[in-house]
């Protein structure tokens, strides 16, 4: 009994740094932002201690709504494209020979060792007016004058899919890999065509990975402000950029209110995911 108590105390001691870290950098920071969002803008230090809900009232401004809506649209579209490309990719990867599969896994993970900002700069160079892609197409004679690739909505979209697709591929790969394929054989044996077996057996049984992938793609996509900065120029303003701009113009309370809204939207998505039967553990796969 006594040894048990000692064990428990020791394990608490081991966990303490983790608790401290989470409290400091997640809960305190979060409370700080929520608190800020109820204050108003001030001259000297950026805020005054006047409590108000006017920041939230301003969220209904059509200008802000439009930005949020644009952001949402892009995120949904990014998630859809990631499903269309990432799910079959993860599926096929799980069906490959172990050696080939590890090589692909390495190719997927190695880019993560480089800062994402640097990788996006790489895309900038690739897409520039006199960049490699345009030069290549010009030399082949497919186009006669350089295409405007950089600073377009398309470039932002491309960057989003590029940055986030591993988060769709990896959870789908894991669930397909864990799937016992004798159930698919059983479906074929019972008269199902390969396509029918895929949609009635494989897809439902790998839904957990697919849903985890959607959450892992959708949530970061709402906040990737540097992507639209670097690839979309000043043209596309998304939720993340808006918050960044508000911080630059020293309207911290409004920036906080928008952040809280963004948090509520992503929190809602996770709540939906949990309600649909997804487990938090599945999200931690990566």
């Amino acid at each position: 009994m006594k040894a048990n108590q000692q064990d428990r105390r020791f394990s608490l001691l081991l966990k303490l740094p983790m608790y401290l870290w989470t409290i400091m950098f997640v809960f305190v920071a979060l409370l700080y932002i929520i608190g800020l969002s109820f204050l108003s803008r001030g001259e000297r230090i950026g805020i005054t201690n006047e409590v108000t809900v006017s920041n939230y009232a301003r969220l209904a401004d059509p200008q802000y709504l439009q930005v949020m809506l644009n952001s949402l649209k892009l995120s949904v579209l990014t998630t859809l494209i990631c499903i269309v490309i990432g799910y079959p990719f993860g599926y096929l990867m799980a069906r490959l020979k172990p050696t080939v599969r590890s090589i692909i896994m390495l190719l997927l993970i190695v880019p993560f060792w480089t800062n994402s900002l640097i990788r996006i700069y790489g895309w900038r160079i690739l897409l520039m007016g006199n960049g490699p892609l345009n030069t290549f197409l010009l030399n082949l004679g497919i186009i006669s004058s350089p295409l405007k690739l950089l600073n377009t909505d398309g470039a932002v979209f491309l960057g989003m899919v590029y940055a986030l697709i591993p988060f769709m591929i990896l959870p789908t790969f894991t669930t397909v890999d864990k799937l016992d394929f004798s159930v698919v054989e059983a479906a074929r044996d019972l008269g199902a065509s390969p396509l029918r077996a895929f949609f009635t057996i494989t897809v439902p049984l790998t839904m957990a990975g697919l849903m985890a992938g959607c959450v892992l793609v959708f949530i970061p996509s709402m906040g990737l402000f540097f992507l639209s900065d670097l690839l979309g120029g000043s043209k596309s303003v998304l939720a993340g950029n808006l918050i960044q701009n508000l911080i630059k113009s020293r309207d911290l309370p409004m920036a906080s209110a928008l952040s809280v809204l963004l948090l509520a939207v992503t929190g809602g998505v996770i709540a939906l995911y949990r309600k649909a039967g997804g487990s938090a553990g599945e999200l931690g796969l990566f």
Partner: protein, 370 residues
């Protein structure tokens, strides 16, 4: 058997790229049979089943069902169904949906689906379990659902891949009786796979013994038990004293003497033999008789070395000389009173000790050997 085979395997070979798993297998299976493919793990019996089901493509050879070539048809277009070793129930569907899956795929109307699923459930004695999920069922119940799911489609041939392998002994014996009952009731041809020789003897109308991708012997349970054709068949089915030696005397009437480790054993051959030929005598321990007087052909002398009593039977080890010992099994009701070390006369009726050609077979590696 003069009738047309329902299933014909013709020169079936399979090579997964690491050597042949199946060597040109020829086999005819007749309507209503309970045919068992018996062999140690890795002998190619599961591969044979998967080739029949269409889950694998043969390297060469053809599969005919009622005379129609099925070889190039995908599994969904073959009127055979499989009960998988792991059951392979769909974990996201309840019992009803699992059993109705094949019917739904075939476009059977809702009302008929319901009726046929109910019939199938009644057949496997699981009525009322429609709404349960596979995870809520015991091993035996999952097994029954897997069977119901396959038989509901009224297949021409039902393929069963070690369906009782995962069950405990008591349940396995229950399910053996259940499967036999089902087969008689449904009158469907069963092709059954097992590595358990007792199960094969209990259930089958015919047994195919397979070893390393080749058929070793085909016969009824009685034939393969009483008249093994090879050393492997003799060692794999039941317990045997396998006495390997050289023919030292042969007479026209089939009587011969086999010299095994310096002991001359009497034997009877149903085919011509030659002096010097290497043969093995398969002597079931139950066939060994011994007593204090040299009667009923008990002409050999031995010494009682060991006696073990186990559940209604007595195992006795009798030494014929320093190297050669015989296993004998006697019913407990006929317990002898010989103390260890006493001299006895030993013998057996020669008709019940078949001879097989001796082979290079390493008996230590064969399953089921004493």
């Amino acid at each position: 058997m003069s009738e047309e085979p329902i299933l014909r395997l013709e020169g079936l070979s399979k090579d997964y790229g690491q050597g042949m798993v199946l060597h040109s297998l020829d086999l005819d299976i007749y309507p209503g049979e309970f045919l068992t493919l018996l062999g140690p793990s890795g002998c190619g019996k599961t591969t044979t089943l998967r080739l029949i089901a269409g889950l694998e493509q043969p390297t060469s050879g053809r599969v005919f069902l009622e005379g129609v070539d099925m070889t190039d048809r995908p599994p969904e277009k073959r009127p055979v169904n499989t009960v998988f070793q792991s059951y392979a129930l769909f974990p996201h569907m309840n019992v009803f949906q699992n059993i109705a899956y094949g019917l739904k795929t075939a476009g059977v109307k809702k009302a008929e689906q319901k009726q046929r699923v109910e019939e199938a459930l009644a057949l496997v004695r699981l009525s009322g379990y429609e709404k349960r999920m596979p995870s809520q069922l015991s091993g035996g119940q999952r097994q029954r659902v897997a069977i119901a799911r396959a038989v509901v489609l009224k297949p021409k041939v039902l393929l069963l891949d070690e369906p009782l392998g995962a069950l405990d002994l008591k349940l396995r014996q229950e399910m053996q009786a259940e499967l036999k009952r089902l087969q008689q009731q449904l009158k469907i041809t069963f092709v059954y796979i097992t590595h358990d020789q007792e199960e094969a003897l209990n259930m089958s109308s015919r047994i195919i013994i397979i070893r390393e991708g080749r058929i070793e012997q085909i016969g009824t349970p009685e034939e393969v038990y009483e008249h093994p054709k090879t050393l492997f068949a003799a060692s794999f089915i039941g317990q045997s004293n396998l006495l390997r030696g050289t023919v030292s005397r042969y007479e026209e009437n089939g009587e011969l003497t086999l010299n095994v480790m310096g002991v001359s054993l009497p034997a009877l051959s149903d085919e011509p033999r030659q002096k010097g030929e290497r043969l093995a005598l398969c002597l079931r321990p139950q066939r060994v008789r011994y007593g204090s007087e040299p009667q009923h052909g008990m002409n050999l002398q031995g010494i009682i070395r060991e006696k073990t009593y186990s559940g209604g039977m007595q195992h006795t080890l009798i030494g014929l000389n320093d190297k050669l010992t015989l296993n004998a099994i006697t019913q407990a009701s006929e317990l002898d009173s010989f103390p260890l070390g006493s001299m006895v006369y030993v013998g057996w009726s020669k008709q019940h000790a078949p001879l097989v050609p001796d082979s290079e077979l390493n008996l230590d590696q064969a399953e089921g050997v004493l």
